[in-house]
Structure formats: C-alpha cells, structure tokens
Subunit: 67 residues, 2 copies
C-alpha cells in the first residue's frame, strides 16, 4: 500500500539535521525551542523536522563567495 507523496512531508530526526549542519543534536533542539526552525513533536515528545524547511534554512545560511 502506498501513500500520496504530496500529502506526506518528509521528516528528519534531530540527529540527521545535526549531521547536516555539523552541530550537536542538542543545538538543533535549541533552534527548535527558540522558534528558529519549525518542529513536529511525536506524542512521546521527540522532535521531527521538515526536510524542505531544513534545506531552505541551510540555503539561507549559505553565504557564497561573491560571483
């Protein structure tokens, strides 16, 4: 059985996001607590992050050498 891809956003765990930014998972948690990044909590209290938002944030923080 399959799920509609449009209806399902891809989510990431704190560890995955932390690895992406090269920071400690705790730091990602702080970002979420500070409202700098949207988060989805599991009923158990763990956080999940939207992959699209993480990528967007990563893009926004990316400073390129001037062309």
């Amino acid at each position: 059985m399959t799920i509609a891809p449009e209806a399902t956003e891809r989510l990431m765990t704190p560890g995955e996001v932390a690895a992406m930014f090269r920071v400690d998972p705790k730091t990602v948690t702080r970002w979420a607590a500070a409202g700098r990044i949207g988060s989805i909590r599991t009923p158990g209290g763990h956080r999940r992050f939207r992959e699209s938002e993480v990528r967007t944030l990563l893009d926004g923080l990316t400073s390129e050498a001037h062309a």
Copy 2:
C-alpha cells in the same frame, strides 16, 4: 468543516501513521497501547487508526518557525 460527505471514516494502517510521524510502526502501536491515540482493532488483532484523528493530532503537535 462544512459538510460530512459520509459517515465513513477513513482508516489508516500503523505503517501509514508511522510514515507521517517519521517513526517506527511499532512506536505507533505503543501510542495506541498508551492511549495517546485512538485505535480500532480488527477481529484478527491488527490496529487501524482514524485518519481525521491522526491529522488532528499531527496538526496539534506541529509548531511553525516564527520570523
């Protein structure tokens, strides 16, 4: 909400719910066992979840980034 098309409540499998929260299907089972989410049992013992309840739950646990 405007109209209820049918009294038919769409049911979701543990795997579908798990994909929505980015967790293991077994974790969804624990939520049901802990009463954190309502569940319907098939005569064979398998669990099914109300699509509307899952969506409401997911929505309530979602927080957007501000600024």
